[in-house]
């Protein structure tokens, strides 16, 4: 396939779409689908057919504000409807060409105005199962341009220039990683996509894989060309069956016109991708454990160095990036590194997708430029805390991250700023908590997660997280002493410094950050047997109970 052929396809899609006067986009991402978006789409198709209007009903990936689902957007007016059910289908079709259905319409301008969409540029605009839809929005143009006009080094240079950093959590400079793999010797190299998204409350990667699978494939193909790899693996957790199905059909659709396979676009570049399913272990998101899992072994991490860039899959140089990192590649190659570097803050470039969950009005996916204040994300984009409650903290980075309190809400979101605040960027989960959350209980929840997800290989993580959980349970039950608190802090330092992999090294973060900002809650539990948020059930100590008269 050539660029001319791509343009031909794009043109024919545009011609096809021009036959319709209206486009009704129905979000069929998991959140909307679970609320009956499938039936809604059928009803819309039936209503459109009956009305005689020229209407294209299209299913799309995630539009963002999941809590308002099922969502329907009518183009070209860009009217957004929320909480639509199949009984509303006739009204929506009838309104086409006239005034929109007022009671369903939602005004989320503030929600969208502060966002910049790079990774999610196609989400809500294309049918994820139609490769032509993707091509019509400049899909695969970056790959073919790179193959036709750029050297592998040129691609690496462009990525370096963009300042893109790994979106999986660590924030390692992507260009530097690509350069290392490109320089590694050997004729067999691998490209791996980490789609083992496992943080509680995070669903960015799932939405990208489900809503725009070709974007990930294109990013991986460009990466393979840049580093000299011929084989790729997408490691997806099996809990994402829709993502697996969409990726599988996307791979098939990409192979058919020769966008994957041998001699891509008439060049000597060969590349194909296989899907590997994770079996539900959080630790397999750690790159060395992921490699072990792809190789068919027990998913446990290995000490680094050697880094996968030098010795990875089956001992060969391997490039591992996260789904969102790959999703950024095509736009960077298309628009140039400087364009990307123009967005974001000093040392964190571009945009970041966050999954907003918890006690927040607009739950869902947002994509914001780096450097944006947390306050803007939570109060403006997220619509603030509902139900008249007050904001208490936001947890970023999942179980490896920390809780950021209200006084730090003016923090600009970047890798370094979040790290300095005792949290991490992580993969992009953002859990908002209000005054009904007990911070000790929150810390206990995350430690319990780390304890059950620890692989058990190294002692600090295996036994340390279990002991931390015991100590935190004591505090929550009101049976702990100040010595226990001291012991907990000491244990945090050993688990953090001595653990083998990232899981253990970051496991104490939720405890350390809540101790830093909400220490009084811990003390309240220990000294006064009281849970300030009223979450923990603490039985009144025996001594405080009125003496029971014993009748002799």
């Amino acid at each position: 396939m050539t660029i001319e052929e791509l343009e031909q396809i794009a043109k024919s899609v545009a011609l096809e779409n021009a036959k319709y006067d209206y486009e009704v986009n129905v979000c069929l991402d998991l959140a909307c689908a679970s609320q009956g978006a499938d039936k809604l789409r059928e009803a819309l198709v039936a209503a459109a057919d009956a009305s005689g209007k020229k209407v294209l009903v299209r299913r799309t990936g995630c539009m963002g504000p999941c809590s308002s689902g099922p969502l329907v957007r009518v183009d070209p007016d860009e009217t957004l409807y929320r909480h639509v059910s199949n009984t509303n289908a006739d009204a929506i079709v009838a309104s086409l060409g006239g005034a929109p259905v007022a009671e369903l319409q939602c005004d989320l301008n503030e929600h969208f105005d502060l966002q910049t969409r790079v990774v999610l540029e196609n989400a809500g605009h294309i049918d994820p199962e139609k490769i032509d839809d993707y091509i019509s929005r400049d899909g695969y143009k970056a790959l073919l341009t790179a193959l036709a006009e750029m050297t592998p080094n040129g691609v690496v240079h462009r990525i370096t220039e963009s300042g893109l950093r790994g979106r999986g959590g660590g924030g390692y400079p992507t260009g530097l990683k690509w350069g290392t793999v490109a320089k590694a010797g050997g004729d067999l190299k691998y490209v791996v996509c980490n789609g083992d998204e496992g943080d509680p409350g995070a669903f960015m990667d799932r939405s990208v894989m489900e809503g725009d699978p070709h974007r990930v494939i294109e990013g991986m193909a460009i990466a393979a060309y840049a580093v000299g790899a011929s084989k790729g693996f997408i490691y997806v957790r099996a809990e994402y069956p829709v993502a697996v199905a969409r990726l599988t059909s996307a791979l098939r659709d990409a192979r058919r016109p020769g966008l994957l396979g041998s001699n891509i676009s008439g060049t000597t570049f060969n590349f194909d991708i296989e899907i590997r399913l994770g079996a539900g272990a959080f630790v397999c998101g750690e790159e060395t454990a992921l490699i072990a899992s792809i190789e068919g072994r027990r998913g446990t991490p290995k000490p680094r160095p050697p880094y996968p860039a030098v010795s990875g899959l089956w001992g060969k140089p391997t490039l591992i990036n996260n789904v969102e990192t790959y999703a950024n590649i095509a736009p960077i190659v298309r628009n140039g590194g400087k364009w990307f570097a123009g967005m974001g803050s000093e040392r964190s470039k571009g945009t970041k997708v966050f999954a907003l969950t918890g006690k927040i009005t607009n739950t869902g996916l947002v994509e914001v430029p780096m450097g944006i204040k947390l306050r803007e994300i939570i109060e403006v984009i997220g619509g603030g805390v509902p139900g008249g409650h007050t904001f208490k903290a936001v947890q970023t980075g999942g179980p490896s991250g920390g809780c950021i309190p209200a006084e730090l809400l003016d923090l600009g979101v970047s890798y370094d700023a979040l790290l300095a605040a005792g949290s991490i960027m992580g993969s992009g989960g953002m859990i908002v908590m209000d005054d009904t959350s007990c911070m000790v209980n929150v810390a206990k929840f995350f430690i319990e997660f780390c304890m059950t997800e620890s692989c058990g290989k190294c002692i600090p993580c295996r036994a340390g997280t279990a002991q931390m959980h015991t100590l935190l349970t004591r505090i929550c039950e009101g049976s702990a002493t100040m010595d226990d608190l001291e012991l907990l802090e000491e244990l945090c330092s050993t688990v953090k410094e001595a653990s083998l992999c990232g899981l253990g090294q970051t496991a104490p973060n939720p405890v350390l950050s809540t101790l830093k900002y909400f220490r009084n809650e811990y003390i309240e539990h220990i000294l006064h047997q009281r849970c300030p948020a009223g979450v923990c059930k603490i039985e009144t100590p025996v001594a405080d109970q009125p003496a029971v008269e014993v009748l002799a």
Partner: protein
């Protein structure tokens, strides 16, 4: 300079030492009689860096490195016994003692146990953590050996020696995190497994988790020193 004489010089605890390229910090330290405590490491087996007792500090880096897998480089300055390291080692040993049911007085390995020796050496006088007292099984189905999971520290030496040296791969690890256990075959009884009865796993086990039935009630020292010798002889062939 040719490849053959690629010698690195480095400092360990202030002493100038020399090493060959590719050697680990632990190898160089032991060659120079500098002690670094280890538990999962055993001469003759591959290293996994799991017990974290051999962590050392490197000047210029805040990260602690496991000496058993970290290789030397020119001008490296290693410290093996700082207060920070000693604190972590003590905590790790305490965690091990609290994790399962280590009762020295009734153990076959009392007096020959690596965990016991490490605790003495590192000055672990008491355990601050609550004992977990898990209910664990003892598998005595094998005609010669017994596995007592109460005493296992999950160092995986048995797993490695069985797979790498004996080539049988009878042992493996099952479960996750605190619930991990070593198993034979697909969690079958040891006596009904594909075990070759070579006994190497018993000799490499650092505690009394794996023991010889004939030694119950008597002294049960273990002799893992055959491994490097065996490997050398095999390579020589």
């Amino acid at each position: 300079m040719s490849e053959a004489v690629d010698v690195k010089t480095l400092q360990i605890n202030g002493h100038e030492v020399s090493a060959l390229r590719g050697q680990t910090i632990l190898q160089v330290a032991r060659e120079n009689d500098i002690d670094i405590p280890t538990l999962c490491h055993l001469d003759g087996l591959s290293d996994v860096g799991a017990c974290r007792l051999c962590l050392v500090e490197i000047k210029g880096s805040n990260k602690l490195l496991p000496a058993c897998v970290a290789t030397v480089y020119e001008g490296m300055e290693v410290t093996t016994d700082t207060e920070r390291l000693q604190k972590h080692r003590k905590t790790i040993l305490e965690l091990l003692f609290a994790e399962r049911n280590h009762i020295c007085s009734v153990c076959v390995s009392n007096g020959h146990c690596e965990l016991q020796s490490l605790a003495q050496q590192e000055g672990v006088t008491h355990v601050r953590f609550p004992y977990r007292n898990p209910e664990l099984t003892v598998d005595a189905s094998h005609e010669r050996f017994t596995v007592d999971h109460n005493r296992c520290v999950l160092c995986t030496r048995c797993v490695r020696v069985c797979a790498e040296v004996e080539g049988a791969h009878v042992w493996d690890v099952m479960g996750r995190g605190i619930n991990s256990t070593i198993i034979t075959d697909l969690n079958d009884n040891w006596g009904e497994s594909s075990c070759t009865r070579c006994g190497k796993c018993v000799q490499v086990c650092p505690t009394g988790a794996l023991f010889d039935k004939s030694k119950i009630g008597s002294d049960h020292p273990k002799y893992p020193d055959f491994l490097p010798y065996l490997n050398e002889m095999r390579e020589a062939q």
